[in-house]
């Protein structure tokens, strides 16, 4: 697999950051995940792509330690994940439900800074660092507002800032932009790419949006309908930095989009 031009030298040095080994998940009689294995190297942007209801979020929740697999193991830095590990933060699709409505924007960010996971990763972020993180996501002017006073895109930025102050190495993002309008979604895609580069994060991203998956990722894990299995792992060899117009209009982007479309939607509908 070839890496993008901006791939960091650290990426290949040690073992995988996250390893998924023979993982299956059943809810009662319903098999959600058949059996999957993949690994996420450190510093990589990996996207789980698949149709709605295919179990992408279930996989992400198992990576996060929110639910346990029925079979197989998930490990983070070589340790088996049983509980949500520190160093990993989850960004939910439903930002309106994930932010604390009784806290201000700054209060929400400070929640992340004062969380047990943040405490386990050294000196907790001060109020000033929280403000700087808000500046990083462009919301320093709204520190005193309540989340529900902001637009959807701004709310998701708050959730991202709250995640960042816990000093994670890994961001798990569960369709974080799917409820947003197209323009807001694109600006947040660029924001997350910028943060990923600047903060040297590892990102595991879930989406059903093929173009979004290509635009963001180093690697795309394509999943089938439930019971879910891995159809293919696709390396995205499109150079970085990526740009909304130029990248999306480039030939490699379009041809990858075409082949992923066939894979996800199924060959019979793809003509």
């Amino acid at each position: 697999m070839t890496l993008g031009v901006e791939a960091r030298p650290s990426a290949a040095q040690d073992g995988p950051e996250i390893a998924v080994d023979g993982v299956a998940k059943a809810f009662g009689d319903f098999t959600a995940i058949q059996e999957i294995a993949f690994e996420v190297p450190r510093g990589r942007f990996v996207t789980l792509l698949g149709p709605s209801g295919c179990g992408k979020s279930t996989i992400l929740r198992m990576l996060a330690g929110l639910i346990a697999p029925t079979r197989g193991t998930v490990s983070f830095k070589g340790d088996r994940v049983a509980e949500p590990p520190s160093g990993m933060v989850y960004v939910f699709q439903q930002y309106t439900k994930s932010l604390f409505p009784w806290l201000t924007v700054l209060g929400n960010v400070e929640f992340g800074a004062s969380s047990p996971h943040a405490a386990r990763r050294g000196q907790p972020a001060t109020r000033q660092e929280c403000m700087e993180t808000l500046r990083l996501v462009g919301l320093d002017a709204h520190a005193k507002s309540y989340p529900w006073q902001l637009s959807g895109g701004m709310q998701q930025r708050v959730a991202i800032a709250r995640a960042l102050v816990a000093r994670p190495e890994v961001l798990l993002m569960d369709e974080p932009f799917s409820a947003l309008d197209a323009l807001t979604r694109e600006s947040l895609q660029d924001l997350i790419l910028r943060l990923w580069t600047e903060l040297r994060l590892t990102v595991v991203f879930v989406t059903h949006d093929i173009a979004e998956a290509i635009y963001l990722s180093d690697e795309i894990v394509v999943l089938s309908h439930a019971p879910s299995r891995i159809l293919e792992r696709v390396a995205v060899e499109i150079p970085r930095p990526r740009e909304q117009l130029a990248t999306r209009e480039s030939a490699p982007f379009l041809s990858l989009r075409r082949s992923l479309y066939k894979m996800v939607v199924g060959r019979e509908d793809a003509q």
Partner: protein
């Protein structure tokens, strides 16, 4: 402005009724010692304030009300959170609660007297027991309504169960809990007065009843008015605290529906 004029007209009805009351005595529409004029009642009211009667009687009423209410609040929130969080606790206590809750509080007064006598302990128990259920039921409903995404958010930041309850479940269900507390505050006042009327020798309930028994009719009416003002003040005070504690809630409600 419209709101202001509506308030004024509501106040005018009150003043009008008092005026009719006064006239009914002054113009001798009603002539009986059980129906004194408003001015006599207000005079008795004023004298009871000045000579410290209300301070003493309301003091002892409010003290037992406060103790009973606080015990009820602490127990109801604690048990309510446990019942809301753990299904097993809910299944264990739900039938008992459903059985005890509909009993009108005066009905268990004789039992309370049997076990606790007629002193303060009985009255505090009565207040606590009657105030307990509205807070409990609201707490359970509030805790159960907390969105699972909020709980998962807490877990991904490494909060343990106690921290999730303290930092997420309690604030998220605060509006339910405070509603229960407001309902219980009114009940606590009712039960305090009933318990004082049935047994004892202090408190505003005792005072009103003994005024009636010794034919101090203006003092009796004045006591009822004082009680009305107390109930009004307690409710207003609570609403002020509630809206301060939940200043986020109104706007959040408006946007989340």
């Amino acid at each position: 402005m419209k709101n202001f004029s509506e308030r004024v007209s509501g106040f005018a009805v009150l003043v009008g009724l008092l005026l009719i009351w006064e006239l009914s005595v002054q113009l001798k529409w009603v002539v009986t010692p059980t129906w004194p004029s408003v001015s006599t009642v207000l005079l008795a009211f004023w004298q009871s304030i000045v000579d410290g009667t209300y301070l003493k009687e309301f003091g002892s009423s409010l003290e037992r009300l406060a103790i009973g209410y606080l015990i009820a609040t602490a127990c109801a929130i604690g048990i309510g959170v446990a019942m809301g969080v753990w299904r097993r606790m809910y299944m264990l206590f739900e039938p008992l609660v459903e059985l005890l809750r509909p009993i009108p509080s005066p009905a268990y007064l004789p039992i309370a007297i049997l076990f606790l006598g007629i002193d303060n302990a009985m009255k505090v128990f009565m207040v606590a027991f009657a105030s307990f259920f509205p807070i409990l039921l609201n707490t359970v409903a509030g805790v159960r309504s907390v969105d699972p995404v909020l709980l998962d958010t807490g877990r991904t930041f490494g909060l343990n169960r106690a921290q999730i309850i303290w930092r997420i479940v309690l604030p998220a269900s605060a509006s339910y809990i405070l509603t229960g507390m407001r309902i219980s505050l009114a009940i606590a006042l009712i039960v305090t007065v009933i318990a004082e009327m049935v047994a004892g020798n202090s408190g505003i309930g005792f005072y009103i009843l003994s005024a009636q028994r010794s034919f101090q009719v203006p003092e009796m009416y004045a006591g009822v008015i004082a009680l009305a003002l107390l109930g009004f003040a307690l409710n207003k005070g609570f609403i002020a605290i509630e809206s301060r504690a939940l200043n986020w809630h109104e706007g959040w409600n408006a946007t989340s529906t």
